[in-house]
């Protein structure tokens, strides 16, 4: 008996392109044809959330380090580029990279502090870091403007990363998502990806096989933080206004985790499927129900998310794949 490792494995390596390429084409077609600002806004928001959730998925999904403090990195990205733009006139393209570097360094520090924590203890620690970030954003007025927030003037130019039309921003968000997904894809296929999965499954067993799980975890959380910060800059440049609640709030941290859990944790397509379902759903419900009583859209939203999770407990991607395989097997 020989084990097929070449042909089928090669086919599997490229299998993701079967949805990445059509998905990209569909987005571009949408951007080229749709002129409705509300629809384009949903697309931009969905793409940004998909990118942020994919970044979260790297440490939260593949390595199983469930974080509900990623708002700290999102906030670092948003505030760094915005502050540098408003005070020094530095282009957000550069500010974005500086914010990403700062977030990665912060993640390295947090990772080193939480090395020994697992399970719910790790989750609690990340919650605390997220809360600290929120407090810092609220009280460090000289940099963040405190609860008044920071406004970016609407002066469209490429160097200032401000665009008059939503199409340009949609293309930028799509490009970011593709970069994040490409990076995750490469990591998934690499030694680093195997190390993260081994850590998630059993740290001691992995170390017994010579897997340097600590190094792998730190690299993963740094890359995760880096892309989350870039999403933060893009969010700031898109909405042109940031305050502590919008970029360092707990709701961001919970939302990225929820998107991955709904879509399928630790899978490449999971965060994208999750974002594609949750973000338009939230926007459409808000639009349709906000006049019929405050908070009603949130109730409906919560009920629908719970229903999806009950129907597809492993997340949309893995649960559907299992059914397709089961149907083929019969």
């Amino acid at each position: 008996m020989t084990i097929s490792t070449s042909a089928s494995a090669t086919a599997r390596e490229w299998a993701d392109l079967y949805w990445i390429v059509p998905g990209t084409v569909a987005c571009l077609a949408f951007i080229a044809t749709v002129r409705d600002p509300f629809a384009l806004d949903i697309l931009v928001t969905t793409l940004l959330w998909a990118a942020a959730a994919s970044a979260w998925n790297l440490s939260g999904g593949y390595a199983g380090q469930l974080s509900i403090g990623h708002a700290a990195y999102f906030g670092i990205g948003a505030y760094t580029s915005t502050y540098l733009l408003l005070i020094y006139g530095l282009s957000p393209w550069i500010g974005m990279l500086i914010g990403a570097a700062l977030a990665a360094l912060t993640a390295l520090g947090i990772g080193a502090l939480t090395v020994r924590l697992r399970g719910s203890f790790f989750v609690m620690a990340t919650l605390a870091f997220g809360a600290i970030a929120h407090i810092v954003a609220a009280i460090w007025r000289s940099v963040t403007g405190g609860s008044n927030g920071l406004s970016i003037p609407f002066e469209p130019s490429f160097a200032r990363m401000v665009f008059a039309d939503k199409q340009s921003f949609a293309i930028l968000a799509l490009a970011l998502l593709l970069i994040v997904v490409g990076t995750v894809l490469l990591i998934e296929r690499s030694k680093l990806g195997a190390s993260l999965v081994a850590y998630r499954e059993d740290d001691a067993a992995a170390r017994a096989l010579g897997v340097r799980t600590l190094r792998a975890r730190l690299i993963a959380i740094m890359i995760s933080a880096l892309f989350t910060a870039i999403c933060g800059t893009l969010h700031a440049q898109y909405t042109l206004y940031i305050d502590p609640d919008s970029v360092t709030g707990l709701s961001f941290s919970l939302q990225v985790a929820l998107i991955c859990i709904v879509g399928g944790v630790g899978t490449l397509s999971g965060p994208i499927l999750g974002a594609a379902l949750i973000i338009p759903l939230a926007s459409l419900l808000r639009g349709a129900l906000s006049s019929s009583g405050s908070g009603l859209h949130l109730v409906v939203y919560a009920v629908m998310v719970i229903m999806v999770l009950l129907a597809l407990p492993e997340g949309i991607g893995p649960s559907l794949m299992r059914r397709v395989r089961a149907a083929r097997g019969k």
């Binding site: 008996m1 020989t2 084990i3 490792t5 070449s6 494995a9 296929r189 690499s190 030694k191 990806g193 195997a194 190390s195 999965v197 081994a198 499954e201 059993d202 001691a204 067993a205 992995a206 170390r207 017994a208 096989l209 010579g210 897997v211 340097r212 799980t213």
Partner: protein, 244 residues
């Protein structure tokens, strides 16, 4: 050539002196049996040798080099690998991917790691299980998977903890064939085993532990006649009854 040696190894857990002045060595191409009653400290010795537990006193050398301060990962990279008595498969991935994680130690290419893993699976007779998810496999298969993962790291010294527990007799024979093959290939093997027939047949030398201390060392025949060993396993009464 001595591959792995310990000198005066000691470990206390609170008031329990779990390992007491244990010294032994194992050479390339040798199978060393490590036996003793339940609670004798055998698995703790593996924990100390593999770096998962830090010893209080003593020396561990791998190929002559002191490795006392090394992490488990570093020891594995240097060629010292262990298996776990309570097997620890990576539950949610396939048997092939489990073994490929071991193989990743010697290559950066996932494809190469999979090819190496497939070879190892052939060797341990798990080729037909390659694409199965590890969680939920029968215990005999999981024991062999544990050995396959360790083998994939291309070790010079293998610490095998109860790899024959739960195996049926034909599987035990296959495992013993594999151990002899490893010996021929020049690996040093330390074997903790409760299957007395197996460990006494396959071991070149046997070290006996009781209450954390080494009470005998020699060939299987020598230690099985040793009165300290007999009383450790069967009680003082049985030993003295034999004399009359």
């Amino acid at each position: 050539m001595t591959m792995l040696s310990t000198e005066g190894l000691n470990k206390k857990f609170g008031g329990l002196h779990a390992v007491r002045d244990v010294s032994f060595s194992v050479s390339a191409g040798e199978i060393l049996g490590l036996i003793g009653p339940n609670g004798a400290g055998k698995t703790t010795v593996f924990g100390l040798l593999s770096g998962f537990i830090r010893h209080d006193a003593g020396k561990v050398r791998l190929g002559g080099e002191p490795i006392d301060s090394w992490s488990p990962e570093a020891r594995c990279e240097a060629g010292l690998v262990r298996t776990f008595q309570i097997v620890r498969p990576f539950g949610n991935i396939t048997v092939l991917e489990n073994v490929a994680i071991g193989a990743m130690l010697r290559t950066t290419s996932r494809a190469q790691a999979r090819r190496d893993a497939a070879e190892v699976l052939e060797r341990v007779g798990l080729a037909d299980r390659a694409q199965e998810i590890a969680r939920g496999l029968p215990i005999g298969i999981r024991k062999r998977l544990e050995v396959a993962k360790a083998l994939a790291t291309r070790p010079k010294v293998m610490l095998l903890d109860e790899i024959m527990g739960g195996l049926i007799p034909t599987e035990v024979n296959e495992m013993m064939g594999l151990l002899r093959q490893l010996r021929t290939d020049g690996a040093a093997v330390v074997l903790i085993e409760h299957n007395m027939h197996a460990v006494m047949t396959v071991s070149d030398r046997v070290v006996v532990l009781n209450h954390g201390a080494k009470i005998a060392e020699g060939t299987a025949e020598q230690v099985s006649k040793d009165s300290a060993v007999i009383s450790a396993y069967l009680g003082e009464d049985y030993d003295s009854a034999q004399d009359h």
